[in-house]
C-alpha cells in the first residue's frame, strides 16, 4: 500500500506519534519504516492526497511533535512512496547524506520572519525626500492632465519603494543574522519586504527571540510576522 512520508529521523529518535492524525480523509495511524540508523515516519494512504488545509496541517503537526523530541528532516509536503520497501531502500541508499543533514540541524530550529511596511508612510517619506516626486504629485493634484505625469511619478516612486525596502530588508537581516547558524532569503510575498528563514541553535534561542522582539518594538511602520520554532524545512 502507498505510504505518505512525513519525516526522517535517526533510529534513536523516540518517534512517539500517539494522538497525531495523518493525512487523508480517514487517516491511518502513523508508523515507522526503519533501515539501519535511520527511520521514516509514514502513514498508509489509499486515496489521492491534495494540498488541503487539513492535510497541510496534519503534515505540519507531525513535524512539530517529532521535532519536540529530537532532530528531524522534515519532508516537503506531498511525497508518497509505493511501499515500505521503497522507503527502506531510500533510507539505505542515502543514509550518509541524511545522517550528515541530521547532524547539521541538530539542536536547531527554523525561525521564519516576514515583514511588511505601511505603505502610506513609505510614500510620504518618498514625497518628502524627492523634490521631483513632490513636484509631479503637486501638478497632478492641481489638475494637470498630462498623461505622462502619473507614469513618471509612479515609476520614480516604484523605484524608490523597491530600493528602500531592499535596504530595510538588508538591515533587518543584518540584525538577526548573528544569532543564526545558517539563513535563507527568498523573494518576499506581495506586500512584504522580507522573507527570511534562520537556523537557530537552542543555545542562541533566547538572544535571538530578544532581538526579534526588539525589532518589533523599535519599528514604527513595519509589521513583523514571526514564526518559530519550526521544523528546519529550509535547511535540509
Amino acid at each position: 500500500m502507498p505510504l505518505y512520508v512525513y519525516t526522517i529521523t535517526a533510529a534513536t529518535h523516540p518517534g512517539r506519534t500517539e494522538g497525531l492524525t495523518g493525512v487523508g480523509a480517514e487517516p491511518s495511524p502513523l508508523r515507522q519504516v526503519s533501515a539501519g540508523p535511520l527511520r521514516a515516519v509514514v502513514s498508509d494512504v489509499d486515496e489521492e492526497i491534495r494540498p488541503r488545509r487539513r492535510d497541510l496541517t496534519a503534515h505540519q503537526q507531525v513535524q512539530d511533535r517529532l521535532m519536540a523530541e529530537g532532530t528531524i528532516l522534515p519532508l516537503q509536503f506531498g511525497y508518497v512512496a509505493p511501499d515500505d520497501q521503497a522507503v527502506a531502500a531510500v533510507l539505505e541508499e542515502r543514509a550518509d547524506a541524511y545522517l550528515e543533514a541530521l547532524e547539521r540541524v541538530r539542536g536547531c530550529a527554523e525561525y521564519h520572519v516576514r515583514a511588511a511596511q505601511e505603505e502610506d508612510a513609505l510614500l510620504r517619506e518618498i514625497l518628502q525626500e524627492s523634490p521631483r516626486a513632490r513636484e509631479l504629485n503637486d501638478r497632478i493634484r492641481a489638475g494637470d492632465a498630462d498623461p505622462r505625469l502619473p507614469l513618471e511619478l509612479g515609476e520614480l516612486v516604484a523605484t524608490e519603494v523597491g530600493a528602500r525596502q531592499e535596504g530595510l530588508a538588508a538591515d533587518l537581516i543584518r540584525t538577526l543574522l548573528p544569532f543564526a547558524r545558517d539563513h535563507n532569503v527568498r523573494a518576499p510575498a506581495d506586500g512584504d519586504l522580507l522573507n527570511l528563514s534562520l537556523l537557530v541553535h537552542e543555545d542562541d534561542e533566547e538572544p535571538f527571540l530578544r532581538a526579534e522582539s526588539d525589532l518589533a518594538e523599535q519599528s514604527t511602520t513595519v509589521t513583523f510576522r514571526f514564526n518559530g520554532p519550526l521544523p528546519p524545512y529550509s535547511f535540509v
Binding site: 494540498p51 509536503f77 508612510a121 505625469l149 530595510l168 545558517d182 518589533a216
Partner: protein, 163 residues
C-alpha cells in the same frame, strides 16, 4: 509592538505552526523541506499558480499608475507631522502604534489567500474547499509588483558547526 501571530510570547511560539499561521509557513511546507525525488509527489497545481504569481515581480505601467494614484490620494499635511524614519528602524527606539495596513498598492493576493487558509474551522470544512481554489481566482494583473530579483541572496553553504 507589532508581532502578528505570536506576540513574542514563548508559550504560543512553542506551539509551532497551527492553522492560525499556516499561511506564513505554507511556503516552507510546500516548497522547502526534504525532497525524495524517487517518490511521487501529489499534485500541487493550484497552489503553484499562486506561488509563481506571488514571486514574479514585474514593474509595469499598471504598477506605476497605482503608485501615482496612491501618492495623489495621500494626506500630505498629516504626513508632514508624522515622523517616518523608516530606515532607522533597526537602530532607533521609537515606539509607535503603527500597524500593517499596507494593502493599498502593495498588498492584495496575500491577504486573499490568507483568508482562504485561516478563515474557518478545519473540521467543518467540506472537502471541496481547498486553498488553491481561492488562489486561482486572483487576477494576476491586480497584484502590484515590485522590482526585485527572484532571489537576492543565494543560499550559502550550510554551516558545519557541530554541537
Amino acid at each position: 509592538m507589532t508581532v502578528a501571530p505570536q506576540g513574542g510570547a514563548d508559550i504560543s511560539r512553542r506551539q509551532g505552526a497551527g492553522s492560525g499561521n499556516l499561511y506564513d509557513v505554507l511556503e516552507l511546507i510546500l516548497d522547502r523541506g526534504l525532497v525524495i525525488d524517487v517518490f511521487v509527489r501529489v499534485s500541487l497545481v493550484g497552489i503553484e499558480i499562486l506561488k509563481i504569481d506571488a514571486r514574479i515581480v514585474v514593474a509595469s505601467v499598471d504598477t506605476y499608475l497605482r503608485f501615482a494614484e496612491a501618492c495623489n490620494r495621500l494626506d500630505l499635511e498629516a504626513g508632514r507631522k508624522a515622523p517616518t524614519q523608516l530606515t532607522d528602524v533597526v537602530g532607533n527606539a521609537v515606539e509607535s502604534g503603527a500597524r500593517g495596513k499596507s494593502k493599498g498598492a502593495v498588498g492584495g493576493v496575500v491577504e486573499a489567500v490568507k483568508q482562504s487558509l485561516t478563515g474557518g474551522s478545519d473540521d467543518e470544512e467540506p472537502e471541496e474547499e481547498e486553498p488553491e481554489e481561492a488562489e486561482t481566482e486572483e487576477e494576476p494583473e491586480e497584484a502590484p509588483r515590485r522590482r526585485r530579483p527572484a532571489r537576492r541572496t543565494p543560499r550559502r553553504a550550510a554551516s558545519r558547526e557541530s554541537e
